[in-house]
Amino acid sequence: MSGPAAMGYRGGDGDAVGELQGRSLWNDAVARFRRHRAAMASLWVLGVITVLAVLVPEFWPNSLDEVNWDYIQSPPTTENLLWFGTDVNGRDMFSRTFYGARISLTIGVLTTLVALIVGVLYGAIAGYRGGPAGDIMMRVVDVLYSLPTLFFIIILVTIFGNNFLLIFICIGAVEWLTLARIVRGQTLSIKEKEYVESARAAGLSTPTILLKYIIPNAIGPVIVYVTLLIPINIIVESYLSFLGLGVQEPFTSWGRLISQGANEIGTAPWLLVIPAAFLVVTLFCFNFIGDGLRDSLDPKEHTR
């Protein structure tokens, strides 16, 4: 994904990769990914949704909280650019849907980022340290793993209120466990490699070894899991918003729109169907991209 150049050399078993202006493992992976049709299509669809999520709330003539008095709960129409209709308060659903996209995607990505940083560092340290300290670190993960995370998120949200910032810290703070496990497993095998030993022999400090040698080489499975974690976090945010515990008015997210749509299901089904369709398409896109990445980053698995 981003910055493949920085990770161009993936260690491996000491093949000469740098000298010959050859194809690195990353170039191979990119080429394999490009051949994955569903993943490429998903990338485009997600790109379009993202661009709309950025542009529509800024430039669309109907704003998200402006009341169109002549079009209360109007079905989708070409009049007045109300392409997705209006909600019970006459607010433009086109604008609201993409504003919801903005919030849902932002929370999905930011929470994953929080989980990524915490999980990768924790896993790498636990794996590199090893010994009793590393064991204790992983036992802590085991205990946290058996907690019903969603209930904890609800408790955290109940306590700290519906603050946008806190919502994603709460979600991110409980979703890092799997990442920590993945990275630890990777680290355990990487730290036995010769290049890590030589780095140690050269007297590099532990943080440097972790950041420059261990983490970049453990990143493949992490990237795959991250693409699967983003949709999970989007679902968690939507779940909270659906229950009324997430984003509050006048702001909105897909979960909130779906919950409002579900309330008007008898009279205005488009209020449910449109945001639900966008959410579902987005979730599918992330899943396909995750599949594509898995196939291209780990060709061995591909044959299964």
């Binding site: 019903p148 209930f151 408790i155 109940t158 209120g161 679902i235 939507s238 009324g244 299901i265 169907v273």
Partner: protein, 320 residues
Amino acid sequence: MQDNGAGGRADKKVLNYALRRLLVAIPTLFVIITASFFLMRVAPGGPFDLVPDLDPLLIENLRKAYDLDKPLFEQYANYLGRLAQGDLGPSLVYRDRNVAELIAEGLPVSAQLGLTAIAVGLFFGMLSGIVAALRKNTAADFTVMAIAMTGVAIPTFVTAPLLTLFFGLYLGWLPISGWNGGQFTHIVLPVCALALPSIAGIARITRGSMLESLSAQHVRTARAKGLPESKIIIRHVLRPACMPVVSYLGPAIAGAMTGSVVIETIFGLPGIGRAFVEGALNRDYSLILGIVIVYASLIILLNLLADIIYGYLDPRVRPR
């Protein structure tokens, strides 16, 4: 199944294993209770903030009545002491009700909903997974897998309203909300919506493990011996193929519980899931705490049960 001498020893081993797991489960539960308790108590703003312009003196008295003015550790000790006697304290919002009563009212509804959904998920999930594996690469297989992919990717809070829209309003076959004492027609839509993710997950897993065990050595041997295909499937393929499904039961149960919160809210069912959401919205701390304890104990207990079943079915994982 195992009534010879070796089986007896295996039973004992499984029992030991179960006991050890139980010993881990108890501290976990304790951690959950402690963490939730202190989180609730350090929360800024209390349940009485929701009523605007409450007389400060009144708030003072309310806090006193609910023991909220005591030092934190004393409150905690009191809570644990009462918890040991099955008393979860009074509800902070519903006057004259205590949490144990509220939970006792909701639990049967939630249990019926959840258990039916798990049963439905197991039955249809395994059935469609088996069919898909036996008819690999046919239309039936692709249909099952497409539905499974949809079911895994789409959350319940989307499928439930859509099912309601289609079967409840458009076709008008089923009532769209209410419990009505668990009457069959009222339970169909919620159970379907709740079971969909587990049907999908179980179907995918069953298909995968069926395919794996269909190509296993011992199955080839059975074929070579000339056993009829139906017997091969039932005796030699199905049992090993069940193992991953059993280990998926834990996550499926946890999923059904979080899902039931949404389902009960959407369909207006009087279970503990809805009580939990209302408690969260009203900041009814003691109610939320009580329900989290119930959920956590159930998840831990059912996971334990799934592990024990796994231990019985697969001699390889029997603990050292």
